[in-house]
């Protein structure tokens, strides 16, 4: 079971585009992790493997276009392949949702990306929903409801 402790989206320039923490950490710890990881991940070559040992845990990352998807997983959870699979599934889902997703989509619709992630990973960082269709269905329902809210507000 992949148990992801945090997921970060880091751009090639080292900017954080999305961060989701499934463990409670104080703020300075978080920034330290981000700072260290950014330099490690960005310095790795394309042909290198996507698993890095980092402190007391492992980090699985994958690069899609200009974005690095970085996941911290605990040492004893060792199916890194599955973590890669989760990352890929996340990207696929966003791709369908936004239609050919790119970094800008995620920057401008970061709350949507969070929603998709929330639906996919359960609250402790393990995969809750593997079906792309399910997730999209749900996110779209929520969107329509939001839209209705919006309409209500305008009409009121």
């Amino acid at each position: 079971m992949t148990q992801i402790k945090y997921m970060l989206l880091i751009s090639r320039q080292g900017k954080v585009r999305l961060q989701k923490w499934y463990v409670s950490l104080p703020n300075n710890e978080k920034t330290k992790i981000i700072r260290n990881l950014t330099s490690i991940v960005l310095s790795r070559k394309a042909k290198m493997c996507n698993i890095v040992e980092f402190g007391d845990h492992k980090v699985v990352y994958k690069r899609y276009a200009s974005l690095y998807f970085v996941c911290g997983i605990t040492q004893e959870v060792d199916n890194e392949l599955l973590t890669l699979e989760v990352i890929h599934r996340f990207v696929e889902t966003m791709d369908t949702y936004f239609g050919n997703v790119c970094e800008l989509d995620i920057i401008f619709n970061f709350e949507k990306a969070y929603n998709i992630l929330d639906d996919m990973l359960m609250c402790d960082g393990s995969l809750a929903e593997s079906s792309k269709k399910e997730i999209l269905n749900h996110v779209k329902t929520m969107d329509t409801m939001e839209h209705n809210d919006h309409l209500d507000r305008v009409l009121s």
Binding site: M1, Q3, K5, V16, R17, L18, Q19, W21, V23, S24, L25, P26, N27, E29, T31, K32, N36, S43, K45, K47, M48, C49, N50, I51, V52, F54, G55, D56, G72, T74, E76, N79, E80, L81, L82, E85, I107, F108, F110, E111, N115, D118, D119, M122, C123, D124, S126, L127, A128, E129, S130, S131, H138, M142, M145, E146, D149, H150, R153, V154
Partner: protein, 928 residues
């Protein structure tokens, strides 16, 4: 212009409901950030401005504006701005009835709430309200709340909402069921009682029709079983059925994970599971499933030590993984390889070619994994290649040259940039080289001259690495080779001297020097020009006190061997002696006790020698030819197995009762002591003896004040006599001393030793000055038989001395041949990177067999009170008893007894808990 601005505000207010904002929206913010990206100062200025706007907006009464501000702040949090100050505003947004706002609120909450107890308390109430499912569109609301639960959950909230969640498990909507199950996981962690009391309800979900619900519940059980597998053993038949029937790979992987956890705990699962998993491996095409199956077999303790078939099946697949183009596959397979090798090294020993190839992979992390495997695959044929390639990597790492290309098979050579080797990796290489070479008493090495050269290379290469332990390891290797391989000592010692004289090495890697000094000292009989060596050592800078300790003794040893080598002129001896004395002079005032003591000892002795040299011009004095060597050359040192010395010491019985001297002996001794005193004209010894015998003999020593001084001439004579006697004694000692492990095999079994402390009494007190009689203390009574084990027949031409061991001693650590030992010197802990992600929860230590009580949290306390009452009663009774047969002294003891009975009581209570477990056991049997 006041009226106008008021009017403008008014217009803005009125437009707002139509979605027309004049504040910055999130999009404006992001665009702004992008347009200010030109310089860091600019960006910072912009962000500060936005942040202060947010502060104003968040205080607004308009919830829309507040929500917008919160959303912006959530975005800014990614730039590292703390937003916890806005927690109360977030709470407000969360409680909004509009889904859109609620969603933003929960999103912000999950990013920002962190152990803020006030806010969590308030959130608890909100949560409970939001979790009330009223049908219709509430699905989404409940969904949002359930997603947000993870960050907000506290034990009290968990206890509060768990009943609501269990009701949701029966909901008609799969979405709610799924969300509820996942939320329950967090609840169980905080409040394990919920799991115990509702175990059946959770089990029931395992039969759910909906795949996503099923997948969620399997995940939850899998995670829970990691923390505490025990309660889930009973589910194994059900789970096994699921594993057989289901065809969703995600769920299969999670089931395998789950079984790994269960099998670790309950080994009876193995016979049933293993065939099924092997079957799965054959049928599946998904790499993840294949990998997970093997992982399950290995980590679930299903691979037996001698199960070659299963191991082979796994290894075959792993080796194809290792050849794959995908670096991730190569990496994780290395990890599994290592684990298989740990179970039995024989499993992996045939894969040497593969491992050696992996060691020069393009990716440093893969190399580093593969290096760990080397210990399992090296043998005497491939060790040279392996070590050479490792040393090459070190060299390349230092120079970051580009001839890496030639070795890496997995890459096209055009776009290769030099690989950066982290320091940790270099340290690992050095440690591994030493580990694999010294393995099994140097079994793999046939050419020790080569190994010496490798060690020198390492010493040179290690200079840049800031790790002291490496120098120590290299030094220890030199020492080991020196001691163990007698045939090669003269070659090794010249290697060692070359290391010492290498300025770079001794300044950059000072930790190696200590061992080198010891070697040149101990084996200085292999050196002809000891005086030159002494000069060399004197000229060097010495890193620390400990090295200097060794150095002082080494000087004495070298001097001793050199001056007695037979071809040295007396004048040079004298000269060297003087130089040594001037060198030692300042050291004898050192702050360091050990150094001071050693140098004072050496200095005093050398002074005596020098005086003797003054007297005798034509030949070396006895003090130099006989006495000095006797300090150091009594025994030859042998390698001793770890723990042997301790084992010997355990059996030593020291007789502290019997006096060394009888009264009449002492009288005699004191008399003769007086002669010495007067002849040497120094009274230290006599005062010593008087002091120590004060009271009893004090009158006696004063009696003999008038002494014959003619005895002085006979001193020299009796000294010579004493030396002869001493030589005999040495031989005697060798036979009897248990610490001296004899070389000849036939005398290997030494007879039972008697305590000869009394049998070999001090015969002549004058000899005390010459022979070191303290050694007789070592000879003690114990009946250990020693046996020297010869190593098995080797192909090696070189004889390597094995460790000396005592067979009988139980304390000797047996070397486990089959385990790959992790390197003794671990990675230096990188405190800066140390980030712990381990989350502790109460679940891990929770006792599920405890019977459920109606009101669990408070119930425990009540129980405790009851016990206390009972105890008090008992105590009163006991007190009463004490009062009856009160003898004053006994009251204390009685109290102790009472305490004991308390303890007993609690332990019996524990037992009664355990008695309730068989229900699970029964089901365990059903599994099999």
């Amino acid at each position: 212009m006041v009226p106008y601005s008021q009017a403008a505000e008014d217009v803005k207010q009125r437009l707002r409901p139509f979605g027309i904002f004049f504040e910055k929206s999130l999009k404006d913010l992001i665009r702004g950030i992008r347009s200010h990206n030109d310089s860091p100062e600019n960006l910072d200025k912009f962000l500060q401005q936005v942040l202060s706007e947010c502060r104003d907006e968040v205080n607004s009464l308009d919830l829309n504006m507040k929500t917008n501000a919160i959303l912006k702040m959530t975005y800014l949090e990614m730039y590292g701005f703390d937003m916890s100050w806005a927690n109360f505003h977030i709470l407000e947004v969360m409680s909004s009835s509009k889904i859109q706002q609620k969603r933003v609120g929960y999103l912000a909450a999950s990013q920002s709430f962190y152990k803020d107890s006030d806010i969590l308390m308030l959130a608890t109430n909100l949560m409970r309200k939001d979790l009330k499912y009223a049908g219709g569109n509430d699905t989404v609301k409940v969904g949002i709340a359930l997603s947000g639960l993870s960050t907000i959950i506290t034990p009290s909230l968990a206890a509060n909402i768990c009943d609501d969640l269990f009701t949701m498990l029966t909901s008609t909507k799969p979405y709610i069921r799924k969300k509820a199950v996942t939320a329950l996981f967090k609840v169980f962690l905080e409040y394990p009682e919920a799991l115990r009391d509702n175990f059946d309800k959770l089990t029931a979900i395992l039969e759910d029709d909906d795949t996503s619900v099923l997948s969620a519940v399997v995940s939850v059980i899998c995670e829970l079983s990691k923390k505490n597998p025990e309660p889930f053993i009973s589910l194994s038949p059900l789970l096994y059925q699921l594993l057989i029937t289901i065809d969703n790979n995600w769920i299969i992987i999670r089931l395998l994970k789950l079984f790994t956890n269960l099998s670790k705990f309950e080994e009876k699962l193995r016979p049933k599971l293993l065939p099924k998993i092997l079957e799965l491996m054959d049928s599946t095409s998904a790499t993840s499933v294949l990998y997970e199956s093997m992982n399950c077999i290995i980590k679930g303790n299903m691979l037996e030590y001698d199960d070659y078939d299963t191991a082979l099946q796994c290894l075959e697949r792993l080796s194809t993984f290792c050849e794959s183009q995908d670096p991730n596959l190569r990496y994780i397979s290395c990890g599994l390889f290592y684990k298989i090798g740990k179970i039995n090294t024989d499993f992996i020993s045939r894969y040497d070619k593969l491992v050696i190839r992996l060691v020069s992979d393009i990716d440093v992390s893969i190399r580093s994994k593969a290096i760990e495997l080397l210990k399992g695959v090296v043998d005497d044929d491939n060790i040279k290649d392996v070590v050479t390639s490792l040393v090459e990597q070190l060299v390349d790492g230092n120079e970051t040259s580009e001839n890496m290309e030639l070795e890496t098979p997995f890459i096209d050579k055009l776009n290769v940039s030099p690989i950066y080797f982290p320091e940790e990796y270099k340290i690992k290489i050095v440690n591994t080289i030493i580990d694999i070479c010294s393995m099994d008493n140097y079994n793999n090495i046939s050419n020790f001259e080569w190994y010496n050269a490798v060690l020198v290379d390492l010493a040179v290469l290690c200079q840049d690495i800031a790790d002291e332990t490496l120098g120590i390891r290299i030094g220890l290797q030199f020492r080991d080779i020196m001691v163990r391989i007698p045939d090669l000592r003269s070659a090794t010692i010249s290697t060692v001297i070359s290391v010492i004289s290498n300025e770079d090495v001794s300044s950059q890697l000072p930790s190696v020097l200590k061992y080198c000094y010891w070697i040149v000292g101990e084996y200085s009989n292999y050196i002809d020009n000891g005086n030159d060596l002494i000069t060399l050592l004197m000229e060097k800078e010495h890193p620390d006190q400990e090295t200097k300790h060794i150095l002082v003794t080494a000087f004495m040893k070298i001097f001793s061997n050199w001056s007695n080598s037979g071809h040295v002129e007396i004048t040079t001896v004298k000269e060297t002696l003087d130089r040594l004395m001037t060198y030692l002079e300042p050291l004898s005032f050192s702050n360091d006790f050990e150094l001071q003591e050693r140098s004072v000892e050496a200095l005093e002795f050398l002074r005596l020698c020098s005086e003797a040299l003054e007297d005798q011009q034509d030949e070396l004095p006895v003090l130099l030819t006989e006495v000095l060597p006797s300090f150091y050359n009594r025994y030859e040192l042998k390698p001793i197995a770890m723990g042997t010395q301790e084992a010997l010491q355990q059996n030593i019985e020291i007789d502290l009762e019997t006096p060394f001297l009888k009264d009449e002996d002492l009288k005699l001794l004191l008399e003769e002591e007086q002669y010495n005193v007067t002849s040497d004209n120094c009274s230290i010894i006599s005062t010593d003896s008087v002091m120590s015998n004060q009271g009893k003999y004090i009158g006696y020593s004063y009696q003999d004040n008038g002494i014959d001084r003619g005895e002085a001439e006979s001193l020299q004579e009796s000294r010579n006599e004493g030396i002869k006697k001493m030589e005999l004694e040495i031989d005697e000692d060798k036979k009897l001393n248990p610490y001296y492990l004899n070389d000849e095999p036939e005398s290997g079994l030494s007879p039972k030793l008697k305590n000869n402390l009394l049998g070999e009494q001090i015969t002549s007190p004058r000899q005390n000055k010459v022979s070191i009689d303290i050694r007789t203390f070592d000879q003690t009574k114990f009946g250990l038989e020693m046996k020297k084990t010869r190593g098995k027949k080797k192909k090696n031409k070189v004889k390597v001395l094995p460790d000396e061991i005592i067979l009988e001693s139980p304390g000797t650590p047996s070397m486990d041949k089959h385990s790959i030992k992790s390197p003794r010197i671990g990675r230096p802990s990188d405190s800066e990177r140390k980030i712990s992600l381990q989350s502790k929860s109460r679940l891990e230590s929770f006792d599920f067999s405890q019977p459920s009580t109606p009101q669990t949290p408070s119930g425990a306390f009540e129980n405790g009170n009851e016990d206390l009452e009972e105890l008090r009663k008992k105590f009163a009774e006991q007190n009463f008893d004490v009062g009856i047969n009160d003898n004053g002294n006994y009251s204390d003891e009685e109290v102790v007894v009472i305490r004991k009975s308390k303890k007993k009581k609690s332990s019996s209570k524990k037992k009664s808990k355990q008695e309730e477990t068989p229900m699970l056991d029964k089901q365990k049997e059903e599994v099999n």
